[in-house]
């Protein structure tokens, strides 16, 4: 899909491959925390925000995973194709945000990195989206950035957010990203739990980051173990 976004590529994601157990089995994972819209700050400072999601309900992980695998099979996934997707993207994300994203914010991401914008579909209905970018920092390393993630409120807690995140991280890893970063609100517990379970660490706390005065965390997932990677990009 590198240079040919015109052919519709619908990805069927086989979820079984997405979950690798660590040797220490997690016995009490809260159900799939479904993040909802993760807040983002675009590259140069207009702050945006994320809205949250669902409550945790403790069930066994294996059970959850099985249920999710089954459920996830009914969804299809695709990357950004064309202008009409912009409206879909906007409608999925806009309603969750208290702070403004202009149409140009969406354009910036999806027209520069159309292959890093994934949609989840239930039949013909778009139910989730993730928007990312990949850029080099300090002229050396490729840094992936998850700008937005949203799942339709009726479709939360089914593993769609996690599936989208894994898809996006995979895609960025394939392109040799050294790390993936994002920001999310201190109060967005579901998002924090999702990213923590994916292996992200909370690297920095950003005081009063959002326009509403709420703090954010900068989360980072290191894909390469390089001691040369900068501690902080700013």
């Amino acid at each position: 899909m590198e240079d040919d976004a015109s052919g519709a590529v619908l990805l069927k994601k086989d979820q079984t491959s997405s979950y690798e157990e660590t040797d220490l089995v997690e016995k009490d994972h809260p159900t799939f925390v479904e993040e909802e819209v993760l807040q983002v700050k675009d590259g140069h400072g207009s702050p945006e925000k994320t809205v949250l999601a669902a409550k945790e309900k403790p069930t066994s992980t294996e059970e959850t995973l099985k249920v999710e695998e089954k459920v996830l099979k009914q969804y299809t996934f695709c990357v950004f194709q064309e202008e009409s997707h912009l409206g879909v993207l906007q409608s999925l994300i806009d309603k969750e945000l208290s702070e403004p994203y202009s149409i140009y914010t969406y354009r910036y991401f999806v027209y520069n990195w159309p292959d890093l914008c994934f949609f989840a579909l239930d039949g013909g209905r778009y139910v989730g989206v993730i928007v990312c970018k990949l850029e080099s920092i300090l002229g050396e390393f490729l840094q992936g950035y998850i700008a937005m993630l949203a799942v339709d409120v009726e479709y939360r807690k089914r593993g769609i957010g996690r599936a989208l995140s894994e898809m996006a991280i995979d895609a960025m890893a394939m392109k040799n990203a050294a790390m993936i970063v994002l920001e999310t609100e201190l109060t967005n517990k579901p998002a924090l739990a999702l990213y923590q379970s994916l292996g992200f660490i909370r690297e920095r706390r950003l005081l009063r980051y959002y326009m509403n005065g709420v703090d954010a965390f900068r989360l980072k997932l290191m894909l390469h173990d390089s001691r040369d990677l900068p501690l902080s990009e700013d």
Binding site: S6, P114, R205, L206
Partner: protein
Amino acid sequence: MNGSSVAEPPDFQAATAAAAAAARASSSEQDEWIVSECGFLDPEVQRTMRSGSAAEDITQYPMHGWVDVTREFHDACAELQPGELAQDMLFGLFEAMSAIEIMDPKMDVGMGFDKQDLPPPSFEAAIATGAIKLDDLTPSELIGIYDALFSCLVSWLEGNSMDQVLFTCLYLHAPSQIKDNALRVFCTAVRNLIVVIKNIIAVAAVNEEEDFQLYGNSALLAAEKAQPAAVYSSLKDVEDQLVRKCKKLTATEDWMAVVHRLRFMRHLFQVIYHVEQMASNDTVDDKVDIYKILLVASEMLPGIRNTLDRGTQPEKGSEAPNPMGFSPRIHDRSQPPAFPRSIKIRDRPASYQFLEEMISRFKYACKVTKYKDYYSALNFFIEYSKKSGQCILSRSVLQSLFSANMRMAHGKLPMKQFLRYSVQNFNSPPVLNAKHAVAADPKVQQHLENFFRYCINMNTFTQFIRICGFNRARQRDKLARLIEIFDPIQVDAARLDSMMNQLANERAMEGNEPLATALRHSTHFSTWVLYNCFRAMLIFLMSGFELELYAVHEFLYIYWYPYEFLIGFLVSALTRTENILLAQEEYADHQSKIQTGGGGASKNRKAAKPKKNKKQQRPYRAEIVFYHALLSLCGGMYKAMGALTKDGRVRLPLSKFDNEEIRYNRRFLPFAALTSPPPVSYAEFKNIREHMMRPSVEDLYTYAAKHFDQARNVLESIQNPDQEMLDLLQIARTNFVVMNVLARGHQKEVKRQPEFDFSKHSYFPIIKLK
């Protein structure tokens, strides 16, 4: 990377060029566009460009040389396919993100207005319509304005823009035009206070964008010259006038409430102005006792808070903090183009609460003058940051007081003298003792000079103290970088130590035994440098808990490092130092005994002295004991996390992307640059953890309980414990019980992750079973 459907239109430049040509054609009658008319420029720049002309009339909608290009624009657009974008070299997709969509209420400030809304009144307009009074204000009106202005001041200190809080008060725009003395003097004081506070914060430079907005409408501020030196006396004069007036009245309470506010302002202003002078000026009247003035100011506050209801109150539903004198939206149009940010002005009771706490923080900051050496000053800064870290002005005032005090205590080269004095005070290297014969040795002096100059050039020590002035989140980022630059200083200190020992050998060869003994000191300089480095490392690591950066599954390696290494290093640095001091003391005793020989009277005096000295030889006892408690707490947490993990009660990342080794390396990255202590590899950690986790879960819980019990014992042995010790004691006791409960197999079937409650202490949680 763009797919074909999202590629740039091949001829977008043609399209934009056509539009531009059309625009040019239709505007041919006009002169060239003037940049400022395009409305793109920063209002500050626009103002400057217009300087010379009268101040901008912000009540009038701007009259620009607009040209209607709607048709041309639509024609040009018609050439584009859906998804095609016209871009420019200097204005691409990235820049476009800053665009504000006109008519979108979330972005367009103007959407807050109704068509019928009148423009916000300016100072002149408000006078013309009679909306504000310039003379004969009633006490109630004065109190309302004063209280509202204090609220604005507090809101500004909390990070809001000065334009959107303070300068919504029209009276501040031109106080000289106010005829009422009490109002004019107060408003002038506020304007001067703004200038003085800005200076203090700018000079202290421990602010970040999230703390404070240094910039505001400078044209407005410059309109009347600041004369801070005159503020105190004019406030005093107007107070006296009002007091005289009261003598002729029967009901004086309202007027006295006005007087109290003026008096509070006078004292607050006096303190803040004096601090500013101290920071920027060598010749400051040091007879001014800030602490006493602060006491007087805080005494005024209860009376003020009791009379809040005597002032006019903000109208329900209005954004203005007071009915008269404020025009909340007056600067909406002169703000830099950005999304509308909601401004919250603190209410009056909360604002006075803030001021009261700020005054206590200032009083606390005054104590910094007691600390004349690095060790105690750093301790003070660390404590101050914990207690007062949230207020930018308080943090800046401490920086000012400290540097002024250092200048007074350490003279012309304050920092170098200060560090020299501090090392001497910390572990007393004989070469730093001016009375010692070796102090005259030029070679020795040269080495010392080089070392201290290097410390200053590297800025490491100064930087550590400054970092403590930043907000808590930034402190951690900055400490990470500071730790890295400790390494060259460590190397230099070690070199100096070995140089001294080498010189000692040379002197001994020459037969100069006293000089040789003085030089043969163990590791004074490197111990001092290492001790400070370890402290930075410990704060860095533990602050991650306070900032909630660590996931529960990471607790294990975070607590492990101080338990296994860091706290032990700190204790041994301090113990070594105490031993050195002890040895020196004994040597000095020995020397003086040889010299004095006998003599009854002097012998008696001598006999009394050693007792006092004994006490001084253990200056770090309290700190060492405290580290012992921390060590046990870290050990307890480390083993508790081991037990909980083995017991299946810790949620672990469940992802092919997760890699513990990478996480571990990332978390300890700032330490990797150091030669000493040498970095501990993940493999080493893993071995140690494996060994630790070998026993049964029950045994592991029991071991953790033992550590918490040790911590309890240590903490209970401390005499006159402060609140922090008591909190830690409670944590140790509770966790001891919880570990024992788990060791006995409680909730064996329900493998739920416990709750880690950090509300008692920011470094150590109470472990709670749900």
